[in-house]
C-alpha cells in the first residue's frame, strides 16, 4: 500500500516541525518563559497626604509580590501646577530587631512631574530572595516651599481584583510617625523565576523523544498490520480529507451564496459589531481599557467564532439526517467540518482585527506568532463541545433552546466588552473557570501587550482544549450508534 511507504516519512516531517517549533518558541516567548512578573494592586486613592514639604517624611511598609523585587510606582499629584524642588524615594529592607538597611534612593524632579500620574521607578539592582521580607519606602522632599510642593495619595480599598496578591496586610502609611487612614497608592513589581524556563530544553528534548518513540511504535504496528488509535486517526485523516474539504467548502459557499456582498460580510460583520460596541462602551458607559478597539475586537472575533461554531454545529447531525441514514460516513465528520468552516470564517475576520491594530498603532511584535496557539486550542475546545451538543440535540430537541440561553450567559461571563477588573475579587475563582476567559486573555496578551503569557496560561489553555476534546469524543462515540434510531 502507498500509505505504508508514507508513514515513516510523515513521522520524520512531524518530528522536524516539532523541533523547529520548540526552538522558535524559546526565542519568541523569551523572558516570559523564565520569569513571571508580578505586581501588587494599588489601592484606589481616597485622600492626598497634603503637600510634602521639607521636614515631612512619609513611610510605607510593603512586601514584594515575587521572589525578586524589581521596582515600584507611586501615584503622585502636583495640584495641577508647576512645582519646584525634588522628591526623594528611598527603599530599605527591614531586619528583625535591627535598623533597616538602605537599598537605594531615587530623586524625582518636581518640575518634570505630571499631575495624577504614576511615578515608576526601577531598582538598578533588583533585590533577590525578597519573598516574605519587609521593606520600607520613605518619601520626602527638598528645596520646595509651600505652594510649590507635590503630594502622594493613599486609600484603603482596592477596586480591582486583577492579581492574586493583594496589598492587604500592609501597615498604614505613616506621616512623621503618625498613622494615616489607609495605605499609600503604591504598586510594587517583582519577578519570580520559573522552574519551567530553567529546564525548558530538558522539557523540549523529553517531548521530542516521546513523540519519536510514539512514531516508532506507529511504524512498527503498521509493519505488523495491527491497528491503534494513532493509525486509525491518520487513516481517517487521509481517507476522509477530500470529503471534509468538500463539506467545508460547501458550508462556506452556501453561507454567502445569495448575498450581494458575499465574503465581505466575513470582514464586515466583526467590524460593525465592534463599532457599535465601541460607541456604546466608550461614550455611554465609560470604559478605561487602554486600546479599547483592539481589546474589543479580539474578544468579538474569538467569541463570535465560538458562538457560530456551536450554534451551527448543534444541528450538524440533525441537518445531515438524510445522509446519515443512507450512507456510511463516520458521523463525527459532520460536527468537525462545521467547526472547521467556522474556523475558516474566523480566519477571514482576523483581517479586520489586523487592520484595526494598524489603525490604532498597536505594536506588531514577534509575540503575535504565538497567537495561533490559542486559536488551535479554541478550535479543539469548540470541537469537543460541538460533539456533545450535536449528540444531545439528536435525543432532545430542546438542546437548541437551552443552548441559546446558555450562550447568552456565556457571553456575559466572558470579558468581551468589559475589563476583567470589574469582577469582584470573591467571584474571580468561579469566573476563571470559564475556558473562554483564558483563551481570550491569552490572545489579548499576545496582541496588545506583545509579550508571551506565563507558562501556566499555556497549560490552562491546553488542558481545557484537550479535556473538552476527550470528553466530547468519548460521549459522542458512546452514543453515535443510536443516532440512526432517533433521526
Amino acid at each position: 500500500m502507498r500509505k505504508k511507504w508514507d508513514l515513516p516519512k510523515g513521522c520524520v516531517i512531524v518530528l522536524a516541525i516539532l523541533a523547529v517549533l520548540a526552538v522558535l518558541f524559546y526565542f519568541v516567548a523569551g523572558e516570559q518563559l523564565q520569569v513571571r512578573s508580578d505586581a501588587t494592586d494599588a489601592v484606589s486613592p481616597s485622600a492626598s497626604a497634603g503637600e510634602i514639604l521639607p521636614g515631612t517624611t512619609l513611610s510605607q511598609q510593603f512586601s514584594s509580590p515575587g521572589g525578586r523585587l524589581t521596582g515600584f510606582s507611586v501615584l503622585v499629584g502636583t495640584f495641577a501646577r508647576q512645582n519646584r524642588g525634588t522628591m526623594y524615594f528611598s527603599v530599605s529592607q527591614q531586619q528583625p530587631g535591627q535598623e533597616p538597611v538602605l537599598i537605594e534612593t531615587f530623586a524625582a524632579d518636581l518640575e518634570q512631574m505630571q499631575d495624577n500620574s504614576w511615578c515608576q521607578i526601577w531598582l538598578s539592582d533588583p533585590v533577590e530572595d525578597a519573598l516574605e521580607k519587609q521593606f520600607i519606602l520613605t518619601i520626602w522632599s527638598e528645596g520646595c516651599q509651600t505652594g510649590q510642593a507635590a503630594t502622594v495619595y493613599f486609600g484603603n480599598s482596592i477596586a480591582t481584583g486583577r492579581f492574586e496578591i493583594g496589598s492587604e496586610g500592609w501597615e498604614p502609611l505613616q506621616q512623621n510617625g503618625v498613622l494615616l487612614d489607609g495605605t499609600l497608592c503604591l504598586q510594587v513589581y517583582g519577578g519570580t523565576d520559573l522552574w519551567f524556563g530553567q529546564y525548558y530544553w530538558a522539557f523540549a528534548l523529553g517531548a521530542e523523544l516521546l513523540a519519536g518513540l510514539y512514531c516508532l511504535r506507529l511504524c512498527r504496528l503498521q509493519a505488523k498490520g495491527k491497528s491503534c488509535f494513532g493509525l486509525r486517526f491518520i487513516h481517517a485523516v487521509t481517507h476522509y480529507r477530500f470529503l471534509i474539504q468538500q463539506l467545508v467548502s460547501r458550508d462556506f459557499k452556501t453561507k454567502y451564496k445569495r448575498s450581494v456582498l458575499g465574503i465581505v460580510w466575513s470582514f464586515l460583520n466583526p467590524l460593525l459589531t465592534m463599532t457599535v460596541q465601541y460607541v456604546v462602551f466608550s461614550t455611554i458607559f465609560k470604559s478605561d481599557v487602554p486600546n479599547f478597539p483592539v481589546y474589543l475586537l479580539t474578544g468579538i472575533v474569538l467569541f463570535n467564532f465560538f458562538n457560530e461554531a456551536c450554534s451551527m454545529g448543534i444541528t450538524s447531525i440533525l441537518g445531515n439526517a438524510s445522509l446519515i441514514t443512507k450512507v456510511y460516513v463516520p458521523k463525527y465528520i459532520y460536527p468537525v467540518t462545521r467547526v472547521l468552516s467556522s474556523g475558516i470564517n474566523m480566519l477571514f475576520s482576523l483581517v479586520p482585527l489586523f487592520l484595526v491594530m494598524l489603525a490604532t498603532q498597536t505594536k506588531i511584535t514577534p509575540a503575535l506568532l504565538l497567537f495561533p496557539f490559542t486559536l488551535v486550542c479554541l478550535l479543539c475546545f469548540c470541537t469537543g463541545l460541538v460533539l456533545i451538543l450535536s449528540a444531545a440535540m439528536v435525543f432532545f430537541r430542546d438542546t437548541q433552546f437551552l443552548w441559546n440561553v446558555l450562550s447568552m450567559i456565556w457571553m456575559y461571563a466572558t470579558p468581551i466588552f468589559y475589563p476583567e477588573s470589574i469582577i469582584p475579587a470573591r467571584f474571580l475563582t468561579i469566573y476563571k473557570m470559564n475556558p473562554l476567559y483564558h483563551f481570550i486573555r491569552f490572545a489579548r496578551m499576545v496582541i496588545m501587550d506583545g509579550v508571551s503569557p506565563e507558562p501556566k496560561a499555556y497549560l490552562i489553555c491546553f488542558v481545557f482544549a484537550l479535556g473538552s476534546l476527550l470528553i466530547g469524543g468519548l460521549i459522542f462515540r458512546k452514543v453515535q450508534d443510536k443516532f440512526v434510531l432517533y433521526l
Binding site: L243, Q246, K253, V327, Y328, V329
Partner: protein, 238 residues
C-alpha cells in the same frame, strides 16, 4: 465477500417518541418509560460471494432495507456480526446529498465525496458524468433552478459512474424520459454484469428473475428461503 452471521436487529419503540427533556422527565416520573421491542431482523445469516448478484425479496416491513443498512454500516446490529471485504457504494435515494445553492459541477464533487470517491477519480470521470446526465451548459447553474428530471439525471449519473466492489441498490430507479430510462437501465445492467457484487432489493419479480444469481426471501425479519432465483421466486409468487 459479504458474510452475515446471526444478525438480529431490535428497535425499541416507546409509545410515542420522546424528543424533549420535559417529555422524558414526565414519562420517567409516571413510570411510563416502557419500551416495546420490535425485532426487524431475527437471526439472519447468509453469505454473498464475489461477483454475485443477490436479490432480496419480501413483503413491506420484512426487513429488506434494514439488512441493507446493517451491511453498509449505517445500523449496528443488536446481535451478530457482519463482515464485508471491499468498498460499498450505496445507491442513494437520488439527490439526498445535494445542496440546492451549489452548481451542478460543485454538487458532482460534493455528492461524489460523500459516496467515497476520490478527487482524482472525480476529475477523471467528470466529463463522463456530465455527458451521461445530458445537462450540457446547465452544469454551471445552481441546481435549485433545475427541473426535477434534470436533478434525477444528474444524481443517477453520479451514483453509477463508479465501478465499486459492492453495490447496494434499493429498487431500480426509473428516472427521466423514456430514452434516459433505457439508457439508465442499460447502465445498471452493465454494472451488474461487470464483476461487481450487487445486493438488489426489488418488488419487481421480473427484474429479479432477469438479473439475479441467487435470491434471499425475508419474511418478518427471518430468512424464509435462500437459493436459486427461479426456485425462490416461484415459491414467493404462490
Amino acid at each position: 465477500m459479504i458474510e452475515v452471521k446471526n444478525v438480529s436487529m431490535a428497535f425499541r419503540m416507546t409509545q410515542d417518541r420522546i424528543q424533549s427533556i420535559k417529555e422524558y422527565v414526565v414519562a420517567m416520573a409516571k413510570g411510563k418509560l416502557k419500551y416495546k421491542e420490535f425485532w426487524a431482523l431475527k437471526d439472519v445469516s447468509f453469505t454473498v460471494n464475489r461477483g454475485e448478484v443477490l436479490g432480496i425479496i419480501g413483503r413491506n416491513g420484512a426487513g429488506k432495507s434494514t439488512i441493507l443498512k446493517v451491511i453498509s454500516g449505517i445500523l449496528k446490529p443488536t446481535a451478530g456480526s457482519v463482515q464485508v471485504r471491499g468498498n460499498i457504494v450505496p445507491m442513494l435515494e437520488l439527490g439526498s446529498g445535494f445542496d440546492f445553492d451549489l452548481t451542478g459541477r460543485e454538487n458532482i464533487y460534493l455528492n461524489g465525496s460523500i459516496l467515497g470517491y476520490s478527487r482524482k477519480f472525480l476529475d477523471e470521470k467528470y466529463a463522463e458524468i456530465v455527458a451521461f446526465s445530458e445537462l450540457g451548459e446547465f452544469i454551471e447553474m445552481p441546481i435549485r433552478n433545475y427541473s426535477s428530471g434534470m436533478m434525477m439525471r444528474l444524481a443517477f449519473s453520479i451514483a453509477t459512474v463508479v465501478n465499486p466492489e459492492i453495490l447496494i441498490v434499493d429498487e431500480i430507479l426509473a428516472v427521466g424520459d423514456e430514452a434516459f430510462q433505457r439508457k439508465s437501465r442499460q447502465r445498471m445492467m452493465e454494472l451488474m454484469g461487470g464483476g461487481t457484487t450487487v445486493l438488489f432489493v426489488s418488488h419487481n419479480l421480473d427484474q429479479i428473475r432477469e438479473m439475479c444469481d441467487r435470491v434471499l426471501w425475508l419474511d418478518h425479519g427471518q430468512v424464509k428461503m435462500i437459493g436459486e432465483t427461479q426456485q425462490v421466486c416461484d415459491a414467493y409468487q404462490i
